[in-house]
Subunit: 311 residues, 4 copies
Amino acid sequence: MSATRYTYLGPAGTFTEAALHTLPEAATRELVPLASVQAALDAVRLGEAAGAFVPIENSVEGAVTTTTDELATGAPLMVYREVLLPITFALLVRPGTTLADVKTVTSHPVGHPQVRRWLGTHLPHAQWEAASSNAEGARLVQEGVMDGAFAGEFAAPLYGLEPLVTDIHDAENATTRFVLVGRPGRVSSPTGADKTSMVVWLGDNHPGALLELLQEFAVRGVNLMRIESRPTGQGLGNYCFSIDCEGHLAERRVSETLMGLRRICPQIRFLGSYPRADRRARSARQPGTSDEDFVRAADWLARCLDGRSED
Amino acid sequence: MSATRYTYLGPAGTFTEAALHTLPEAATRELVPLASVQAALDAVRLGEAAGAFVPIENSVEGAVTTTTDELATGAPLMVYREVLLPITFALLVRPGTTLADVKTVTSHPVGHPQVRRWLGTHLPHAQWEAASSNAEGARLVQEGVMDGAFAGEFAAPLYGLEPLVTDIHDAENATTRFVLVGRPGRVSSPTGADKTSMVVWLGDNHPGALLELLQEFAVRGVNLMRIESRPTGQGLGNYCFSIDCEGHLAERRVSETLMGLRRICPQIRFLGSYPRADRRARSARQPGTSDEDFVRAADWLARCLDGRSED
Amino acid sequence: MSATRYTYLGPAGTFTEAALHTLPEAATRELVPLASVQAALDAVRLGEAAGAFVPIENSVEGAVTTTTDELATGAPLMVYREVLLPITFALLVRPGTTLADVKTVTSHPVGHPQVRRWLGTHLPHAQWEAASSNAEGARLVQEGVMDGAFAGEFAAPLYGLEPLVTDIHDAENATTRFVLVGRPGRVSSPTGADKTSMVVWLGDNHPGALLELLQEFAVRGVNLMRIESRPTGQGLGNYCFSIDCEGHLAERRVSETLMGLRRICPQIRFLGSYPRADRRARSARQPGTSDEDFVRAADWLARCLDGRSED
Amino acid sequence: MSATRYTYLGPAGTFTEAALHTLPEAATRELVPLASVQAALDAVRLGEAAGAFVPIENSVEGAVTTTTDELATGAPLMVYREVLLPITFALLVRPGTTLADVKTVTSHPVGHPQVRRWLGTHLPHAQWEAASSNAEGARLVQEGVMDGAFAGEFAAPLYGLEPLVTDIHDAENATTRFVLVGRPGRVSSPTGADKTSMVVWLGDNHPGALLELLQEFAVRGVNLMRIESRPTGQGLGNYCFSIDCEGHLAERRVSETLMGLRRICPQIRFLGSYPRADRRARSARQPGTSDEDFVRAADWLARCLDGRSED
């Protein structure tokens, strides 16, 4: 039944699946790994799944542009949840293998930069080869093709392997951000620590257009959290911007900002307001930007129109 | 009866009175000259008059700070109308006087810069003396104390004088702007060519506060027409700003701007939206700033909240 | 000898003269009171005096527009020094007079707002009349025409009077700012707590021109201290701006700002860099705006051009 | 000899090689294909080659982040030249093959989006498989493993193939931008139509930091051509920006902008000024931003310091 089905970027045994399991509702969903971000999202668009869980950004590799591009184009989708997962690797081996036995290692290429230094120090003579996913790497170890696989520790039991070394990571704080995506629906209520995602197109490519766009945020005291430029496909020099900002669409400073963008930009796509995974409330609150401030100002304006502004 | 009484900065026979007569309703009002701007405004505050007509700005002398300061403080007042009057002088003399007879001339000191060059060319040996108003100058000529008075041509018959020379003005386009002020009341409807006046206080004197204030206007495409800094009386370095902008409070770009100012400034006083005397519509319209643009953006926002943003 | 002569806005016995005496060099100058700001400045322009000392701003009344306009037009002048004088009044009377004897009082009209409340409380029945200066008011008391004069306490001995009450002031912190003006000359060295004055004309009256002007300051971290709009005489809606900012022209952040203004504005007049009378160093220093920061950036740029930017 | 050697992202027969051949000097260089962008750049860093030619941006796929990241970190490199190559595909087959014979096709995955629609229309039943490069795809056709390869038409003779269909492209104007990279050296002279590349780090992640960065450009009238955010590796939410702007470092508006960035940003890396491949001069010239304007302003400033600003 599609209403209880979540697709995700597979295969099983990857960091994506591990991140998905941190969502409480995952326990009651049918979780279906698919071979690509596009396949996972299309299942939602076609009504075959209620949600798709995909990576969107990595603190080392940057944006997962397949995901941001898919959200920017095609049938509309919305983000309902985000998950942050710290990325540390385990070296998975067949039971009984020692470090001295490991002559060949594998991982998904994206993981390679994260283990390269560790490899240089601890297994300087081991040969690294690419696998199509970390889980596939583990399978190759299970089958005896490779001696070790860098993958999440959680993948070990799936393939009958053991974690020989854990907590391997060249960059501190390596984190991947995942989003749960669904068909557009009513935005859930603010939690007090939310973020809002959108894609904004710049108009006639006029100098200063990006500056004007950012000023719509700044003048209402809305902080940007992420901004990615992406080609529009209309030739070099034509970009749209994938943006996350602090706050919820139901907050006045955010809604006024989005209406401002809608007015000055030829196209804008709202991608959802949802709880921040880090549960941090907004950074330094700029005076005059709370909902109460907006309401007081609107009350005052109504009195101005009535000639009672100083009552 | 106060409802039909307008006070104005007197005496009779001045440019202020001439400007007042350009208002159609002046014909049906009791027009009362008073000795000072403050007196004229206080009569309105006390309910003794329905309106006060006073100068607020001159294209040569600048702001009439008594007027701007009075509007900024004390019991609230509102501007309902503005009048622009080109200022050109006539040399008024007793009948029969020739230019060669004119040895002494007089005018209000504010008018002096406007006739100085003409005097140097045409009456280089005449002696100028100050009068407390141009009308008082005419009276001095009537009484034979002075030979000539610079005043509006319209003042001649009031004092039994003749305009010997007309259209005297050192600066081209010298214009005085007058405002009709009343007690606060419901703002009249937009005419399509309106302006809005206000006084805005800057908060903690932080660097960049004025820039932030101007950005509230700029981001909504609202053009400034006049900005005057005035001391707040709290010591040097503390200013408020008397501001006129294009547009009417009932227009969304203006109301959103004023609400923005209200949120970020410690104090703001709305002084009215009223028809522009030059009847010019706003200058170059910035895209995305019409009321229709605001309405469309608000509709879109409502759909976003409902998950129907791309319907 | 003109090189040792300073003119000032007279007559003697006014606050202007008192402020002038706070300048150490005043003791060795011939101090010449003149009847108007214009006369005092013209004496400098004509080479008849080395300096002119005139009021430029009052914390209650605002700009002395005669001074700002004179500095903006005509033969160039420069400001070399500023003086701040707290304004408090004494009630000067003939020796032997008691408060009960005072039926008539006088002062310059500018001083009236500063003593009005005191009068209402302590001499509610006294009649106030305007004098052409506070010193002239004192003279009228000396001659027995009036009973009391509000003036600086320092004026008492000049007119054989006694201060009956001192320290009278309705507004706290009432202060007048005076400037010492001379013919243009080499700017003196920075003291570490300086200010810079200028007049800037906005070009084609395009919306946003003032914002652009302020951004030239903001982007280099230069704080505004005062900004006054003044008519250009080209008709309503055409303004120039008289501006004081923090810092000295010899400081890089200030010189780069002024060059920026010079590039984007049709006209700019530099009016001098001189020590701040309050001796306060600049407010919160914005990172990256010290001379050292500018020098380091220029060094880096030179290395960039040479391909050695990361040496 | 390394001084005449250029490395490039191989293998031979790719669009990169075709773009490289548009450089006149390529005819006199030893051109060495390497397996990765990193390998091509490292050869330059190690002194084994004088230049490396690599793709940096595609109008459909966006930034080649390997290239932007490599330029942002490690031993400094500089861009000396850019090339724009329109990307259209040919379907390469063994001589004698007809469209009806083509059951299997291949290409590099990056090319797939560019031919997908054509495939759906003209070869709806053909099976697509990924190759590690377009050239490798051609080799697979040569060996009879696949029936057709999407590649540049220029690759046909290298593999004994024929272009069966040419000018295949789903997106109009698909273009790839390549750069010739070398060790840091003296920046060549401006041509009048140049661009400047850099990487800029934002400091303390404070709200508005990106806006401030853009204002350094805007206030000097320097237009952005491309801006890419990239993770710094310090955890989610920490970004640096890879930026191209109009103009040459030897132009004053550009050098002043870069010095401004250097002052306010914790880190900046200059990546070169070089001729624009589109040979277009800068877009709408903002008044006051030419070198002559800068020189005039500097002259004026010098006169200000000397008290001769209005000579």
